[in-house]
């Protein structure tokens, strides 16, 4: 048993009569290096540990839960959190559906998510990577005028969840990233592009990929124009497609559905998307950056097929939303660190790949717009109503190939419409950081608003 899990379990001994208790501890070490003009601009190294405690009290009308957290595992911090969680529980409304997770017999898969090279690699090597990345971008193309930030970062983290209802889960993970933002300039006009590479350890990273991506994206935007308004096909690259799928994923949360805050509510079994769309949430797939053996309540991760060839198959649930909906958890409890309560969410989305690579999709689309970046996603997309309107940069597609770059335009539709209008799903899946992997995606019926 991990040391952290032992600590979590020992704290459970403090549960009071008539209470259930859950302890969630997370701990990590992080390094971050930023290079600028051949030198280290910032170098941070940190260790942190946090604890979240939830206390549940049963009553005649149902259970009540109180939560508290602390940014330290010191005894006084833990005692204060326990006191507050207990006190907070008395002020919640009794709710028959509120409960802590209980072991459901699903065995966790074994995943290798932790590479100790993150901590054994010397700081000098990490610093050199950030400096080299910056130099590669600066030297990669004459039109690169500035590198705003060239970063290396990594973390090694472990977490444990234990509860008096029998939950007992621990996991370890590591991650390493490089990212770089380039500014290309030509005749007084500036354009930006960023690139990244991710892995479990420094050795997994490709500086060439990150640098090449930043340079290509920045330089090919030079000369961008504001095109006239039109309506047609939008082709999203893997990164922007991932943003789309994660927004759609939020509407597939059983919590949003059961509370009447999803446009998918009441549509199980119906065709909601093009037959090309098979959407899966699978944290057991080791290739996925968000892979993990457990969800945030400590239940084993499992593969859930949400949309099968366009037909809405199921939603994702944590324990409480599942009880509200009269079903069982799908192992989809998510929470934002130790401070929050779990809720239901997609954890590791991926789409079944189609037949074509990006170039073939351009050929088949003929004319349209290729989307390389999205802005205003949090202000212009409403996953409850489905309204979708975002700023983009990218390139026009003419006669099956990329043409002039475009800027200061928006694309708009509704999420409902866009799902049905999917024309092509690429075969070029990218295992991006975050909770969504994606590939090139073509969607019809999108309004482009420009001049």
């Amino acid at each position: 048993m991990s040391e952290l899990l032992a600590k979590a379990q020992s704290l459970l001994e403090r549960v009071g009569a008539g209470e259930e208790m859950e302890v969630f501890i997370s701990r990590g070490v992080e390094t971050e290096v930023q290079a600028y003009q051949g030198e280290v601009e910032n170098l941070s190294s940190s260790a942190s540990a946090e604890i979240g405690i939830r206390i549940l009290i049963d009553g005649p009308q149902g259970a009540r839960v109180g939560t508290a957290y602390a940014g330290s595992l010191d005894e006084d911090a833990v005692a204060e959190a326990l006191f507050n969680a207990r006190d907070n529980a008395h002020f919640a409304t009794e709710d028959e559906f509120v409960a802590f997770a209980r072991p459901d017999g699903v065995a966790p898969v074994s995943l290798s998510l932790c590479d100790p090279a993150v901590t054994t690699t010397s700081m000098d090597v990490k610093v050199a990577m950030a400096i080299e990345l910056e130099a590669m971008v600066r030297g990669g193309d004459q039109r690169i005028r500035q590198v705003d930030a060239a970063n290396y970062s990594d973390y090694l983290a472990d977490a444990a969840i234990a509860s008096t209802t029998g939950i007992c889960a621990a996991l370890e993970r590591s991650g390493a990233y490089v990212s770089v933002e380039a500014i290309a300039s030509d005749g007084g006009e500036d354009q930006t592009g960023w690139g990244l590479s991710v892995g479990r350890a420094p050795g997994d990273l490709s500086l060439e990929t990150a640098a090449g991506d930043a340079i290509r994206r920045a330089t090919r935007m030079l000369g961008a124009v504001k095109p006239p308004s039109s309506k047609g096909i939008a082709v999203f690259d893997a990164r922007t497609a991932a943003t789309l799928w994660s927004i759609l994923g939020s509407a597939l949360s059983g919590d949003a559905v059961v509370r009447g805050r999803s446009f998918f509510a009441g549509r199980l079994g119906e065709v909601v998307a093009s037959p090309l769309v098979t959407l899966i949430d699978d944290p057991t797939d080791a290739r996925h950056f968000a892979a993990s053996p457990f969800d945030s309540e400590g239940l084993a991760s499992r593969r859930n097929e949400l949309i099968t060839q366009g037909r809405l198959q199921q939603f994702v649930y944590d324990t409480v939303s599942a009880r509200r909906a009269g079903t069982v958890s799908t192992g989809n409890a998510v929470r934002g660190g130790v401070s929050g309560s779990p809720s239901a969410g997609c954890r590791a989305l991926q789409l079944v790949s189609g037949d074509f690579d990006q170039d073939e999709i351009f050929r088949r689309v003929g004319n349209g717009v290729f989307v390389e970046s999205l802005t205003g996603v949090h202000s212009g997309v409403n996953p409850i109503s489905g309204d979708f309107s975002v700023g983009i940069t990218g390139l026009m597609i003419r006669d099956g190939v990329l043409a002039e770059p475009i800027r200061e335009v928006t694309i708009a539709s509704t999420l409902q419409r866009m799902l049905l209008d999917v024309m092509f799903v690429g075969n070029d899946v990218q295992w991006l950081p975050g909770t969504t992997a994606a590939q090139t995606l073509a969607i019809d019926g999108v309004s482009l608003s420009g001049s």
């Binding site: 190294s45 939560t67 330290s72 959190a81 009447g260 708009a412 482009l448």
Partner: protein
């Protein structure tokens, strides 16, 4: 609260240690933050949560390099360990200890009248229940109401090798109502936030009822919304949340970190006309009680009122300590950090457009065709290109000088330097709105403000021709 957090002589020794290896600058920032939040959903109090985080961040600057480490261990041993980690960037250092001489502690007490810690939880719940009732009573179409209340008490002590030694107590209170309305055409949403750097006295029954009615009305109004137009149109922004336009169109581009890296379209433009003469833009940390108010910034520099653009002419940028030092000038009080675990950087406080002289109704009446944006919902900018977006979460058509049909949510997109020249009317009805600003992964509370104003044209990201 006037907890010392950390003793003066400990701070002194940590700074001495940090400077020992030949550093140019060292700073220790010690923070103790308590937060409490409660949420109501489906007529039930879902959950109360309390949190406490205490820790310190130490930064050491050597030449162009900053070393940073943070720790939750506030003992002298813990702080010295962090200091040594941060100072490890000073590889060539000469060793030994450098004596730092600290000023007398400048301690700024909170101006909150009612500390969150003194408010019975039952009283908070009562307000949330009331907001729920009022929102539901606003119309049968209201199907969902969510209410959130959160407060935070943040005390910090910051000291640096130049002798700065300051402490601040910041109390913030936030209340928000979200509604969903159900109609034949699907669901629509309404949202109203209330947030201030004040204590519980900020939340009155009148203000929370108004927020609840406002959120409900917004959701119901949008049930009859039609798709927003696409293409360029004149836009009238209602007083208050329209300030987000300036936050995005030029605020971020006027932050000195972007300027010094030549990553802003406003670099090298001080003294030049960058906006319509109607534009006088101010960033003001001294607006007591506003969401972005601060007595001192997170580097110990007193909050200040800084004029950024005066009658359309760019007068200055916003500065933190490091960026100001490079230019041999003083910080403008804009050095902020999300918490002790983050490095400070240049951030806005309360950014607003000074009121003009026009009449708000007249501005609408003199707009034959356009869009009236009653509420903005955030935005995003690329400072290097100046292109920015902001979302309209409550908008209407203006036809023949009158506000008519409600429009569905959409983004508006423009280029900062271009849009600033298109401000062709500013009214007198100034008001402010709270927001959360994200930059490089750090979130800080900011205020925005302006009076009703018009842009002669901006691209509306709708679907209708």
């Amino acid at each position: 609260m006037s907890d010392t957090l950390v003793e003066r002589d400990v701070v002194q020794r940590v700074l001495n240690e940090s400077m020992g290896r030949g550093a140019d600058f060292a700073e220790v920032f010690v923070e103790d933050r308590r937060t409490a939040s409660a949420s109501l959903d489906q007529r039930r109090i879902q959950e109360l949560s309390s949190g406490r985080s205490r820790g310190a961040g130490v930064r050491v600057v050597v030449g162009e390099t900053t070393g940073f480490a943070h720790t939750a261990d506030l003992t002298e041993v813990g702080l010295l360990t962090a200091a040594r980690a941060a100072a490890s960037v000073a590889r060539e250092g000469g060793g030994g200890v450098r004596e730092v001489s600290l000023e007398n502690l400048r301690d700024y007490p909170s101006r909150a009248e009612v500390s969150p810690a003194d408010v019975p939880k039952a009283k908070k719940i009562e307000l949330m229940m009331r907001a729920d009732e009022v929102a539901r009573a606003s119309g049968d179409a209201i199907s969902q109401v969510q209410v959130g209340l959160s407060d935070s008490t943040r005390r910090f002590v910051v000291a640096n090798s130049e002798g700065v030694f300051a402490a601040d107590d910041q109390v913030r209170t936030r209340f928000a109502v979200s509604c969903v309305a159900n109609g034949d055409g699907g669901m629509q949403t309404g949202y109203r936030p209330l947030a201030a750097t004040r204590g519980f006295e900020y939340l009155t029954p009148e203000s929370i009822e108004e927020a609840a009615r406002g959120a409900a009305r917004q959701a119901m109004t949008k049930l009859s919304a039609r798709p927003a137009p696409s293409g360029d149109l004149p836009v009238v922004l209602a007083g208050g949340s329209g300030g987000i336009l300036f936050h995005e169109a030029c605020g971020h581009g006027l932050e000195a970190d972007a300027i010094l890296k030549q990553a802003s379209v406003y670099a090298g433009k001080v003294g030049q006309q960058v906006a319509s003469p109607l534009v006088t833009l101010v960033d003001d940390g001294t607006m007591t009680g506003e969401w972005g108010y601060l007595a001192v910034d997170d580097e110990g520099r007193p909050g200040a009122r800084n004029v950024l653009i005066e009658n359309g002419i760019l007068t200055d940028y916003m500065w933190d300590y490091l960026r100001a030092r490079k230019e041999g000038r003083d910080s403008s009080g804009n050095g902020r950090r999300q918490s002790y675990a983050h490095l400070p950087m240049v951030r806005m406080t309360n950014t607003y457009l000074l009121a003009g002289e026009a009449d708000a109704d007249e501005i609408v009446a003199q707009t034959p065709r356009g869009v009236y944006v009653a509420q903005l919902g955030g935005g995003q900018v690329n400072t290097a290109t100046g292109d920015f977006v902001f979302g309209a979460t409550a908008a209407f058509m203006i036809e023949n000088g009158r506000i008519t049909t409600p429009l569905r949510d959409c983004n508006l997109i423009g280029n900062g330097p271009e849009i600033l020249t298109r401000v062709d009317a500013v009214a007198t009805d100034f008001s402010t709105t709270p927001g959360t600003c994200g930059k490089d992964g750090q979130q800080v509370p900011v205020g925005c403000g302006q009076a009703t104003m018009r842009l002669s044209g901006i691209t509306i990201g709708g679907t209708a021709a």
